[in-house]
Symmetry: C2
Subunit: 401 residues, 2 copies
């Protein structure tokens, strides 16, 4: 690949400050000795960078908790958790707002349940703004560096416009602009699965795995991918819509307008109606079907078998396209795989080119339903981590509002 | 994203040497003034880097050809074309071997036609080795820095093992090792479409486009993708197999073992048999069908219509997954789109999530059938461009063999 530009001495320093802060944010308290090795920089550079970050109030230094007996202990560098961001997840059935500190420490959380009929975008903005004000009463809200939001829909990267979030009933809603106005603060918005894979990669099931997909099933199917460690966004941010890959030509009509999309065969409501229940019950109803299948309910078991089978069929396409090392499953897909792993894996292995050649690791997300929320925190931290020298000073706006 | 490591002063210098050489390799002769602007480095740094590259015989400096009247002209830096690599494309119907100079200058080329029945891997290795010896008789063969090969199949990144190249009849062939032994030189092997997208991005239809797919149709369909400028390889190098996405549940049996794969509906042979002709005629026979359709042959026209329709259906999935800015088409897909653009675009726009939201640019490859060959040259140049200071000195092995 062609490098776009060279690196100046000034950029070198900024990049190294960024590398050190990002390291302790991701890995937790780390000794100077380990930082020297892991970052490939010499001891005096690590000392300089740490001093600079400490003077900016972004890290603290101290003796290790369990001090070694012999030799001078290496000072331990810790990200300051009172340096915070606001993370927001707008889901179909609830809104979650958390204040998250550097290092990934959750400082405060508010949850407001809402329902279909309460998804009017202005109403959601008001609710979110209220919850943000509540979490900001936490003492560490004073050093808040940004706001990140997860939305279950296609989000235009350039301006946070929600192009299409069918389960919220949103089309072309300028959600980022509206919330930004309400909070008097810039707001970054991302797709829930795109943020989910970031979080699972940083602190969840996929730490150290650079070719990984996060595929999660609710009413629809969301997909987020890292390709060689780089988030797959596409030219406008809409990439990863694997829920609309065809799995059955004569299959059910999908809300996207096509027929036989993967999400029509494995979504929550397909599992529920297959088990003879009403659609719309969400994760609680899904858990009931799984429990009923375990308890001998044959209709529930048959519906679960079918969803597991189609989960594997869809994953086959994902594997052929991405050849991932790992696929992290969320929502109903994680349940189907947890309950019927052999059915999923057999369907995945049948036919298909890459699937037959080498195996992929399937696993359930390690962060549960919080992956998109924690990914939203990372979205909000991104400018600070990318350039701590440039970002410090920008944290007053929200606190002052 | 978390940075893996910091950047030392030594790495800074290596990165900037790499950036300058990569720039002139990609963009051709460039003045010091433009390099200063484009690379974001100051004039004295550019001067130092240029001198170092010149002393290593990788670039030359001179006055611009059209000298400006006023002021001192900025010296122009040019990559030395006599710094070369060997690029090889193994196709179903031919083997092409070229000596390619830095800057993308083709110095020498040999083509050997072969046929089914002549694909035995040892025979192919012998033929390739003979053609390499022929192109190396060119005077600039003396400074050859590497060998890159394009193969129409799934290639394991770690060792160049060809896991599956159905149209050559190869399964688990250690092609890189065998050729490396025959040439007494390391050999890098890649998938033809993965290399095609690199070449189209560097010098073809997709210059400056960082989210781009190259999808090419022969007997099968090959796909190569850049995601945010990063090649999609997957964990082992097998990613991008979009030819095996399902497009029709009850469709024809595919050589991959599944049914209704995209390539069963749009491959060369599907066009040929649909037009009432024998399969196996390759690009020549495809061109005849297109010409016949133009001349009023209704069966040829109907077959072309059908292939154009299915081309659009498959591209719909590609767009949903990758949200690319551009898809560069090759082979029979380029022909179908060239002859029936409306049919392809209508099928692409029907249903599907992302397709309806924003348009993607379709175009034919600008490098014709040479994209994989030129991508193979880039594969061979990659170590030199990534670290010129480390690579110089490695060029003698092949010349000495």
């Amino acid at each position: 690949m062609v490098r776009r530009a060279g690196i100046s001495q000034e950029e070198l320093r900024r990049a190294n400050v960024s590398a050190l802060l990002s390291w302790v944010h991701a890995h937790g308290p780390t000794s100077r000795a380990v930082l020297t090795t892991e970052l490939g920089l010499n001891r005096s550079t690590i000392g300089d960078l740490t001093s600079q970050l400490e003077s900016m109030g972004l890290v603290s230094e101290g003796l290790p908790v369990a001090e070694r007996r012999s030799g001078r202990p290496s000072l331990v560098v810790t990200a300051c958790p009172e340096v915070s961001v606001v993370a927001i997840a707008v889901d179909v059935d609830r809104i979650t707002v958390a204040l998250v500190g550097l290092g990934g420490v959750e400082l405060e959380r508010r949850v407001r349940v809402h329902q279909r009929g309460e998804h009017d975008v202005k109403h959601v903005v008001e609710t979110v703004a209220q919850l943000v004000r509540e979490v900001m009463t936490h003492p560490d809200g004073a050093r808040c560096f940004g706001v990140g939001v997860s939305v279950p829909g296609a989000v235009r990267r350039s301006d946070g416009l929600v192009r299409f979030a069918p389960n919220l009933g949103w089309t072309n809603e300028p959600f980022a602009d509206l919330l930004s106005e309400a909070l008097d603060q810039p707001v970054a918005v991302g797709n829930d699965a795109d943020l989910g894979v970031l979080a699972e990669h940083l602190r969840g099931a996929a730490v150290g795995v650079n070719d990984v997909g996060y595929v999660t099933g609710g009413v629809g199917i969301g997909g987020g991918f890292l390709v060689g460690g780089v988030p797959l966004g596409g030219s406008q941010g809409y990439a990863g819509e694997v829920g609309h890959l065809l799995v059955e030509t004569a299959g059910p009509k999908c809300r996207c307008g096509a027929r036989g999309c993967w999400e029509t065969k494995v979504g929550e409501n397909h599992l529920l109606t297959g088990a003879g229940r009403l659609p719309g019950g969400g994760p609680t109803a899904v858990a009931e079907v799984i429990a009923a299948a375990d308890a001998g309910d044959q209709r529930a078991a048959a519906s679960l078998d079918e969803v597991a089978e189609w989960t594997g069929v869809g994953l086959r396409a994902v594997v052929n396209v991405f050849n991932p090392e790992m696929i992290v499953l969320g929502g109903v897909l994680a349940h189907a795989w947890g309950a019927r792993p052999r059915l999923v894996e057999d369907a995945l292995s049948r036919g298909g080119l890459v699937c037959r050649l080498d195996r992929v690791t399937l696993c359930a997300g390690a962060l549960g339903d919080d992956s998109p929320l924690l990914g939203a925190a990372e979205l909000a931290f991104a400018p600070l981590l990318a350039d701590p020298l440039g970002a410090v000073g920008s944290e007053t706006a929200l606190a002052g509002s």
